[in-house]
């Protein structure tokens, strides 16, 4: 490394490292105020550049919108996907970042959540069809959306436990492959089973206002802003919940297991139990985002839930900085937003994605916005690097 580059690095570390300390040193009310302003800004995002209720625009901000380019995607729609992925990243962060379990089949839980609301909530699904016939109900009867939420959460939670029970005793890298297989199995089962709609998928999935129809006033098909606000609210709620969890006894146990499973076990933390918890909670969060995805799309098909999506999920967590909730949120946002904003290069999207993964992992293995603890862990490991007689 040249002298100038090293100087730049030190300078950057000084400034950025200092920011965290300065933030923590602020009085509590100032931190709250900043956070509130941040949250308000997140809710304002769909209007980015406009001032709602007037014809005024703020110049410059327009550039960030995805519909500012030719053939760009609906801006609120992109924001909705970003919020969805942030929710996924928060859930997966519990599994990967906190408990240190590599789950390559997270898309399976996402699919379970999506299929739960599809199969129980849509009047056109085979499962609801069978129920209608069994109990002689009318042909537009289906389970209400609000009741589908606990159903989806329960199903994905159970899926998490079912997958975790036999596999969590395995070594980390075996777990990765088994979960990868699990994600594929869910997709193949959905594709081949008549009760899951086979390859055609399931249409008519309801939202908060009931089945998709042009008459829906708030959660309609064209205006996606309410969907974004809904997803954002869920994300904020989950951030609060997971944050509490992280600082609880359970969260501390996860960290202990991640850093040294044997030492944790000796100290009386039963690794299997807490790993299973992490798996189940992560699965439930993944299921929730799957549910939101299915409700918004109103139609799902098995090919959506492929391995590539799983890999994207893991990449969001690892690139952002596993273990740090702000980091994984940034990672999720970037990986959802950048490809949409720079669509002109869409041909090279996957290539750029792969290159970015390799480069970030080689140059900054702790992720873009790492947790301090994780960074120190990696530094610690580097000291224990094996000898090598060159």
């Amino acid at each position: 490394m040249t002298e100038a580059l090293r100087h730049f690095n030190e300078r950057r570390r000084h400034v950025l490292g200092g920011m965290g300390d300065r933030w923590r040193a602020l009085p509590r009310w100032q931190r709250w105020l900043t956070l509130l302003a941040g949250v308000a800004f997140l809710y304002y995002l769909p209007f980015l550049g406009d001032i709602p209720g007037t014809n005024l625009i703020i110049p410059g901000l327009d550039w960030f919108r995805t519909d500012s380019i030719d053939g760009g995607a609906n801006w609120a729609g992109v924001l909705f996907v970003c919020a969805l992925y942030v929710l996924v990243a928060i859930g997966l962060n519990v599994v990967i970042g906190l408990a240190g379990l590599l789950d390559l089949g997270y898309v399976g839980f996402y699919a379970v959540g999506a299929y739960s609301v599809a199969l129980f909530g849509s009047a056109e699904s085979p499962v609801v069809g069978a129920l209608q016939e069994q109990f002689g109900l009318s042909s537009d009867w289906a389970i209400a959306w609000a009741i589908c939420i606990p159903i989806a959460l329960a199903f994905s939670l159970v899926a998490g436990v079912l997958l975790g029970w036999p596999t969590l005793r395995l070594r980390g890298d075996y777990l990765a492959i088994v979960t990868l297989g699990f994600g594929e199995i869910i997709r193949i089962v959905a594709k081949n089973s008549g009760w899951a709609g086979e390859a055609q998928g399931v249409p008519g999935i309801p939202g908060p206002e009931g089945p998709p129809s042009p008459d829906n006033k708030v959660f309609g098909l064209l205006d996606i802003k309410p969907w974004y606000w809904l997803a954002l609210s869920v994300v904020l709620l989950m951030v609060l919940l997971v944050r509490r969890l992280e600082h609880s006894r359970v969260g501390r146990s996860w960290l202990a297991i991640r850093e040294d499973e044997d030492a944790a076990a000796v100290m009386g933390v039963y690794p299997f139990k807490f790993k299973l918890w992490a798996f189940a909670i992560g699965a439930a969060l993944g299921g929730f985002s799957g549910l939101l995805f299915a409700s918004r799309s109103a139609f799902i098909q098995p090919e959506t839930f492929n391995v590539q999506l799983s890999i994207l999920f893991v990449a969001m967590v690892v690139v952002g900085g596993s273990g740090n909730m702000a980091g994984v949120a940034v990672g999720a946002f970037l990986l959802a937003y950048l490809p949409e904003r720079f669509r002109d290069f869409s041909e090279y999207r996957v290539l750029a994605f792969g290159l970015a993964l390799v480069l970030i992992m080689l140059l900054r293995p702790q992720g873009l916005l790492p947790s301090r603890r994780r960074t120190r862990e990696l530094q610690d490991r580097a000291k224990e690097a094996p000898v090598n007689v060159a």
Binding site: T167, L170, E184, L351
Partner: protein
């Protein structure tokens, strides 16, 4: 469940499964070697295999291979294909090690990081082939080609042997025989030569091996090259048997081969062969029973069951413990 189809023609399905398993076995050797030495799943190994299939295809079209050439020429072409495939896959394997792993090994990074770089590199390789190289090797210049590409058949697949009602084709015999041959050679290399002793030493204890003067980096490079050579051979068999390739064929083959390696006992060379052949047979049985719909699930179910009941695989993990 279509039991009639399975038991009515059991011998034939077994033969088909064994020849399919030969490819899994050869690819599985690459996973096993790297895992045995580095305790690391080389996720990019599937792409090493994919590169091999394309390199062979490219060479054959460069040589102007026509369909079903005379037997003498066919053998020459096959040998050239073997060399080219092995070289291309070996070189790719070396590149993967150099680019994705070496720096991380120096940092003693956790396995998760290795896995992510490997996934990233595997995406890069797949996309490079989808965007440019697949077009190039199929003779259309550097253009995007995400379609299935046909490979000229060199040996006409014909029945040469009938055993217990099963028709065995010449290609199937070559496949199983060459898998056995390659494994025998590799086994001898690891167990009898000086280099093999180095590999076993590093597998047993990297630190001690280094203190005894084994050059770790060289051993690791050697292991990657050996895995690449096996994948190149597997690529040749694939081209002979299936006659097609595609930019993303590596993924499924890689996953199955990894399952095979775990099934036999990862880190165990003979285990990889056993696991590969067994998995091939299981898969063909499952495909027959369910009319192909659940073929891909069978491999994963086998993997999960093995890991639950016998996590060390059928023959146990033992590259380091292999007989001196």
């Amino acid at each position: 469940m279509n039991f009639d189809a399975l038991f009515g023609d059991l011998a034939q399905h077994t033969v088909d499964g064994l020849s399919k398993g030969a490819i899994y076995a050869l690819v599985a050797l690459g996973y096993t070697l790297v895992y045995g030495v580095l305790r690391l799943i080389n996720f990019a190994h599937s792409e090493i295999f994919m590169v091999g299939t394309f390199a062979i295809l490219g060479t054959w079209s460069l040589l102007g291979v026509a369909d079903n050439p005379p037997i003498g020429m066919a053998i020459v072409y096959l040998l050239i294909g073997l060399v080219v495939g092995a070289l291309a896959s070996g070189a790719t394997a070396l590149t993967v090690e150099r680019v994705a792993y070496r720096r991380l090994r120096r940092m003693n990074a956790p396995p998760l990081i290795f896995l992510i770089t490997a996934i990233g590199l595997s995406l890069v390789l797949v996309e490079i082939f989808a965007l440019w190289m697949a077009g190039f090797f199929s003779g259309r210049g550097f253009t995007e080609n995400r379609l299935v590409i046909g490979i000229p058949p060199l040996l006409k697949q014909e029945t040469v042997l009938s055993v217990a009602g099963a028709d065995i084709t010449n290609v199937q015999i070559i496949m199983v025989a060459s898998a056995l041959l390659m494994l025998y050679g590799l086994d001898q290399f690891i167990n009898r030569t000086r280099y093999g002793r180095g590999v076993r030493a590093v597998a047993q204890s990297p630190d001690t091996a280094a203190l005894m003067g084994v050059h770790q980096d060289r051993v690791i490079m050697l292991v990657f090259v050996l895995g690449g050579l096996m994948a190149g051979a597997a690529a040749l068999l694939w081209n002979m048997r299936y006659g097609i390739t595609k930019f993303d064929i590596g993924f499924v083959v890689g996953l199955k081969a990894f399952t095979a390696a775990v099934l036999g006992g990862i880190g165990n060379l003979r285990g990889a062969l056993l696991g590969g052949l067994l998995l091939g047979v299981i898969e063909v049985y499952a495909a027959t029973l369910t009319r192909s719909t659940w073929e891909d699930v069978a491999a994963f179910v086998v993997l999960v069951v093995v890991l639950i009941f016998r996590p060390t695989g059928l023959l146990g993990e033992s590259l380091g413990k292999a007989r001196a």
